[in-house]
């Protein structure tokens, strides 16, 4: 009975959609905490990449729990570096984000080639992926409640909307953003770990733009957790559909590149204001 249910093509399709959505969802939530606090974050890609690499390496040596911890830790380091550069050194958020992506891409290549033990089995032991499914779908709901209903969430939004006014009422943006970027590190770390859990092994540039798609979903969702979650699921749905339809003889052949471009195109159209107004946090990028 159990097996029959999951061999059903529709269930299979849904399962694929959910697995594809995991890194997007976690990445987008990482972007949410950062951008809601006013810190522009185009470095999600690099954070997820370094997390996937660290998880694969530590998982091979010390088992799945260590892999998870190392992945989150690595992403936190990059996230807090972003905090340091944008808040203490006060450099432009976009520049710092580009550098974070460079550290993610270059650092993961360096570390993996240096430390991966090729004599051992190809894939590292991982925790079962259902854990990340629960986390990925509970985090957006949690974030929604947090932003709406708690003092910390309101402080976060206040800082993101107008850091100067927040200062006047005694909130310290520096501290709020530290916590926000800590959360960004945890979420993007989980995203990278979920990604490598699915494949079992790190490969160069394995995020392949997922960090940017997560950012796109965040923007498309108007920087709100639940709509961003829906955008992630929508993008994952199209990816899954592509995998399903590719090579089907009866359908007109759409190049896979066209499918892959959909999230990016939709985001541009949304930014052009053709899908109604989305409102960015007003204090985005402000000191």
């Amino acid at each position: 009975m159990h097996n029959d249910l999951f061999s059903n093509p529709i269930f299979n399709f849904l399962a694929v959609t959910i697995v594809l959505a995991l890194p997007l969802l976690l990445g987008a939530m990482g972007g949410l905490t950062s951008e809601r606090s006013g810190v522009i974050n185009i470095g999600l890609e690099g954070m997820m990449l370094i997390a996937a690499c660290a998880c694969s390496l530590a998982g091979q040596k010390h088992g799945p729990i260590a892999g998870l911890a190392a992945g989150i830790f690595a992403a936190i380091i990059l996230a807090l570096l972003h905090w340091l550069m944008t808040q203490v050194y006060r450099i432009d958020h976009v520049i710092s984000g580009m550098a974070i992506n460079a550290f993610g891409a270059g650092g993961s290549n360096f570390l993996f080639n240096r430390f991966y033990d090729t004599t051992q089995s190809a894939s590292s032991p991982m925790l079962p992926i259902w854990i990340y499914k629960w986390i990925a779908f509970l985090v957006p709901i949690g974030m929604w409640i947090y932003l709406k209903k708690t003092r910390g969430g309101l402080h976060l939004m206040a800082v993101g909307n107008d850091p100067d006014k927040a200062r006047l009422v005694g909130i310290q943006p520096l501290k709020v953003r530290f916590v926000a970027l800590l959360a960004t590190g945890i979420f993007t770390g989980l995203g990278g770990v979920a990604l490598v859990t699915d494949t079992g092994i790190f490969t160069d540039d394995m995020t392949a733009g997922k960090g940017y798609i997560a950012l796109a979903a965040l923007i498309l969702g108007g920087w709100r957790p639940i709509p961003a979650m829906l955008a992630c699921i929508g993008f994952a749905f199209f990816s899954a559909l592509r995998l399903q339809l590719e090579g089907n003889q009866h359908l007109p052949q759409i190049p896979s590149e066209a499918w892959s471009s959909i999230p990016y195109l939709v985001t541009i159209i949304a930014l052009a204001g053709l899908l109604g107004k989305t409102k960015a946090p007003a204090g985005l990028g402000k000191p």
């Binding site: 580009m98 270059g106 360096f110 796109a216 471009s261 195109l265 541009i268 930014l271």
Partner: protein, 331 residues
């Protein structure tokens, strides 16, 4: 002296030295390998100049947008779209006419690829960083599709176009045995000088920098900021496209999947290092060329090549920190 800056530089260098030692090499050896591989022989210098060419032009493209207060992260996409267009045109029209048409086509393609970002920034206030990131990804998929199918060389296993004929290549200026220098690098240098003069000496250049310095003030002074933003973005895209064309016509001779190893990204670092003047793009581009060429020698020395990307990231952070060094931290 600014202690924050010192801490950043010392920290970066320590981290790098640690990484190199972790890879089982001594930092001194790594450094000498880097310089020997990039400047140690006529061949190495030829290679460095070759690497510097697209970097210089890409850096100039980013620099121009930066002067207008825009982050053209899309140079990467504009460059590959330009290179793709150029190779298609140059294959169709061999000879000098192909060089001219190919270059023009590449500049138009690059500018067109920047157009959506320009319009959305000017008239919808959508952040150009986001749109250009999206456009980069679309450019990658689009050219990837073209080179895998419609424009792939007949009978080719790899995803590449055919080679352009030798008569369509840009000529070498020096061809002295191991030292070969293509005219491409001089195109880049001349372009940087022209840009510097244009920014300094013309009304349009002045307007562009005024918008970059303070767009509200520019608006109040009667400058039509929207138009300046669109023009700056288009010019930046055209230069990026030109960079792609030069890379095809001077060195590569074809377009293929994975054409750019991240020129657009390096361009941001170069533009930041360049400081306030377009002349600065020339030494900054050369420095990045040294890193790119020397990085190849490091790779041969068993140090994973990712380390050079990390170095570039650090260079970007340090350059930016120098630029913003007078800004105080606030709680």
């Amino acid at each position: 002296m600014n202690w924050r800056l010192v801490a950043l530089i010392v920290g970066s260098l320590a981290l790098l030295a640690g990484a190199v030692m972790m890879a089982g090499a001594s930092p001194a050896v790594a450094l000498s390998t880097l310089f020997k591989g990039s400047l140690g022989s006529p061949q190495a210098i030829s290679g460095t100049l070759r690497e510097s060419t697209p970097l210089l032009i890409a850096g100039l493209a980013v620099f121009l947008s930066l002067r207008a207060g825009l982050f053209n992260i899309g140079v990467e996409g504009q460059l590959i779209v330009g290179a793709c267009a150029c190779s298609v045109i140059a294959l169709r029209f061999p000879g000098p006419i192909g060089i001219i048409l190919g270059t023009l086509g590449a500049m138009i393609a690059g500018a067109l690829w920047a157009l959506p970002a320009a319009l959305i920034k000017a008239y919808r206030n959508g952040h150009e960083v986001i749109t250009t990131i999206m456009l980069n990804n679309i450019a990658g998929y689009f050219t990837g599709y073209l080179v895998a199918g419609p424009i792939r060389a007949p009978g080719q296993q790899n995803t590449t176009t055919a080679d352009i004929t030798p008569s369509t290549h840009l000529p070498n200026v020096f061809n002295n045995g191991p030292l070969t220098v293509n005219i491409g690098i001089f195109v880049g240098i001349v372009l940087a000088i022209l840009a510097a003069l244009w920014l300094k000496r013309t009304v349009a250049g002045y307007e562009l920098q005024t918008v970059g310095a303070n767009s509200t003030a520019a608006k109040l002074a009667g400058i039509r900021t929207e138009r300046v933003i669109v023009k700056a973005m288009l010019a930046s895209g055209a230069i990026a496209g030109l960079g792609g064309a030069i890379q095809v016509l001077a060195y590569e001779g074809r377009f293929y999947l994975g054409f750019s190893p991240g020129y657009g990204f390096d361009g941001l670092g170069i533009a930041l290092l360049a400081g306030g003047s377009a002349y600065g793009v020339i030494p900054a581009g050369f420095l990045f060329g040294v890193l790119a060429k020397g990085g190849v020698s490091l790779g041969i020395q068993q140090i994973p090549k990712g380390i050079t990307v990390v170095v570039l990231g650090m260079a970007i952070l340090i350059a930016a920190a120098i630029r913003y060094r007078k800004v105080k931290t606030v709680a």
